[in-house]
């Protein structure tokens, strides 16, 4: 009898010919997530099993952050042997008032059919516990999973992970991370669909503080377990913002800033081979997130800008931020570059032509070049 951790996946099953590739990817990602633990990871049909470990809860916590995993169970592993299984089940002691047994017989050579075996095991539990059977809503379910590889897994708890797809091998995404609540959640959401991302942050020192920058680095480190991030780029937008403020129509300040951010992100995509840009924008949340504003920022990108939160309400975003542990950092009171130089009446329906006309008032190419020249790259490892 061994104690093991059973890992199940769901969407990978739908991958047809690519299923093997995705399982290998998931296996590797689990290996990375568990690199600080002593354990072995084994592939069995349609499951992964972690064994020979010493910190069960620690491993489960880390597995919950690996995308592509549907659910996890702490289980006991036995051979597919009726006597062995019955002996184990007869020793189970339950505190609950009701229970049921659920048997899954993937190994069709196992001599007893699922329902019959569930009834036999149920009787053993009834014999040794003060408990009743409740088929519909039992307090405890004893799961018995009889696999094709000759091993049976017995467990009573299914811990759900985030499902989704395993993070890809290459870091294809560039996440625009501010100090706010939304962008870490956006990074998490795209990572859930397998997009590995590095991080780009814009600051406005001396108008923003070093603490604001530290806060974003903390956020980056907090989400890298999801996003697989390795590098963080920090760009100073101060000169650009000052120029916009002095020379351009201030109503356009935020819009022009967003366009510049996307331009900088495009240059980094080109240089470091990212394929897409991720932002935390949500439709209509602020003036810079109206359809018209998004259209004017989209006009300067050749890489797709993914906005996973576009349809999310703020409270939905906050719920996820709390769930993934970024909320408390995000609400620390430091200004980010979007909140300094904030115009009193930012334009809600900007036009591409007007934005271009405003940009002609300054030496935009030179200023963007300066941003790129002075970029700071931080390793998140």
């Amino acid at each position: 009898m061994n104690r093991v951790i059973l890992i199940r996946f769901n969407e990978i099953h739908l991958k047809g010919g690519n299923k093997k590739y995705f399982i290998k990817l998931l296996h590797n990602n689990i290996k990375t997530a568990l690199k600080d633990f002593d354990c072995k990871i084994e592939d069995i049909q349609n499951r992964l099993v972690v064994r020979d470990y010493n910190d069960e809860d620690g491993i489960v916590e880390n597995l919950k952050c690996v995308f592509g995993i549907h659910s996890i169970s702490k289980a006991v592993e036995l051979d597919n042997d009726v006597d062995l299984i019955e002996e184990f089940v007869s020793n189970i002691r339950l505190d609950s008032k009701t229970f049921k047994c659920e048997v899954n017989r993937a190994d069709k050579s196992f001599p007893i059919k699922s329902n019959d075996f569930a009834a036999r095991l149920g009787e053993l539990i009834l014999k040794n516990n003060k408990i009743k059977v409740d088929i519909h809503s039992p307090e405890t379910i004893i799961y018995v999973d009889i696999r094709e590889n000759g091993k049976t897994f017995i467990f009573h708890e299914i811990i759900y992970a985030y499902s989704g797809l395993p993070l890809g091998e290459t870091r294809d995404g560039l996440l625009l991370l501010s100090g706010g609540i939304d962008s870490p959640v956006a990074g998490f959401c795209m990572a859930k669909r397998g997009l590995r991302q590095d991080i780009l942050h814009f600051d406005s020192f001396p108008y923003t503080s070093p603490q604001a920058k530290e806060k974003v680095i903390t956020l980056a480190r907090a989400i890298k377990k999801f996003t697989g991030s390795k590098y963080m780029y920090i760009c100073s937008m101060t000169k650009l913002q000052e120029e916009f403020h002095i020379k351009c129509n201030t109503e356009y300040a935020i819009n022009l800033l967003r366009r510049s951010m996307i331009r900088v992100a495009n240059i980094l995509c080109e240089k470091y081979r990212y394929k897409t840009i991720v932002t935390g924008e949500s439709l209509g949340q602020v003036a810079s997130q109206t359809i018209e504003s998004l259209t004017t920022t989209n006009a300067v990108t050749k890489y797709p800008v993914l906005r996973p939160l576009i349809s999310f309400n703020k409270d939905e975003i906050i719920d996820i931020a709390k769930e993934i542990g970024t909320y408390q950092t995000s609400i620390l009171p430091y200004e980010d570059c979007c909140t300094v130089f904030l115009p009193r009446n930012p334009i809600i329906k900007p036009k591409i032509k007007d934005a271009e006309r405003e940009e002609e008032k300054i030496n935009l190419d030179y200023l963007i070049d300066e941003v790129i020249k002075n970029i700071e790259i931080i390793s998140l490892e």
Partner: protein
Amino acid sequence: MIYFDNASTTKISEQSLASYIEASELFFNPSSLYKQSVTVKSKIESARASILKFLKGIAGSTLIFTGSATEANNAVLNSSITRKDKKYIISAGEHSSIYTTAKKYLEAGYNIEFAPLTKNGSVNINRLKNMIDKDTAFISIIHVSNETGAVNDIKEICRYAKNINPNIIIHSDGVQALGKINVDLKSLGVDYYTISAHKIHGPKGIGALYIANKNKFKPFIFGGEQEMGLRAGTENTSNILAMKTAIDNLSIIDYHERKQTIIDNLSGDYILVSDDTCVDNIISICFKGVRGETIEHMLETNGYLIGTGSACNSKAGYNRVLSSIVPKEYLSGAIRISFDDEVTKDDCKNLAILISNAVKQYNKRIN
């Protein structure tokens, strides 16, 4: 780097650091019985006596070493705020270690009253006197304001309060007063007085609480019998001896000329909160319509470090002390300059010019 943020903390002096290192060799637990421990214990007691003498404590008074001035202030409130039928008064200008703790007692249902401030940040003494009555059990007034450098007349407050009720317990937080003005606890008449080492070129992680009558003090931290049973925990010998050295080396320096140099070279629309009656080493200035934090960072890039009197942040809110005495449009532009003898008159002149330029630049770029 030229450092103008000494009210926040100071650089440890060579002498204090030497004491710290030397004392680190004396690692023996002062409570043990062998000769080495007796030696350590005796050095600690000698430091205690020396600091008490410096502070001119009354006969029978004592001093306990704490992990910080914040701990000492918390210990005083914990010992003194005990009954819900009594009145406890603190000033609106107290350091957060008093103010926030007092607010907790207020939330718990104790009768805490806050004495208002005058324009320079000192307590409004007439209003304070009107608040003191026979039900008043405790008063805590900061000696020198950490925000503005305003000096409170602790002697007069003690005289007046004890006249109404001799049993009133009076505490003063002397963290910013020590080394800046003459501290004579016997003459002041306080029951408790808090000091800190790291504001006077000593090490961080140590404060001390003067206790006039140890029978009235109820301990805050329990455990061993260290510090006469008034504060448990193995003594921090290195910090204690380094603090003593820092105090031995204190001398009151006349900073008036340097303060005046800064004021003379400032330009822009500002309110000088720290008037002539404040200590000269802390200057609180509030510029209209700018963000103090940005000014601080602009100076930082020029190698000058100053403090902000305000977090000047919409989320964090304005500085608590200044917001009761400065008009709103000046609040976000609060800066605090605080210096020691290291800075020269030229440094002060340069600083004032840099601040004025930064404000001008800010107004040009943002306003």
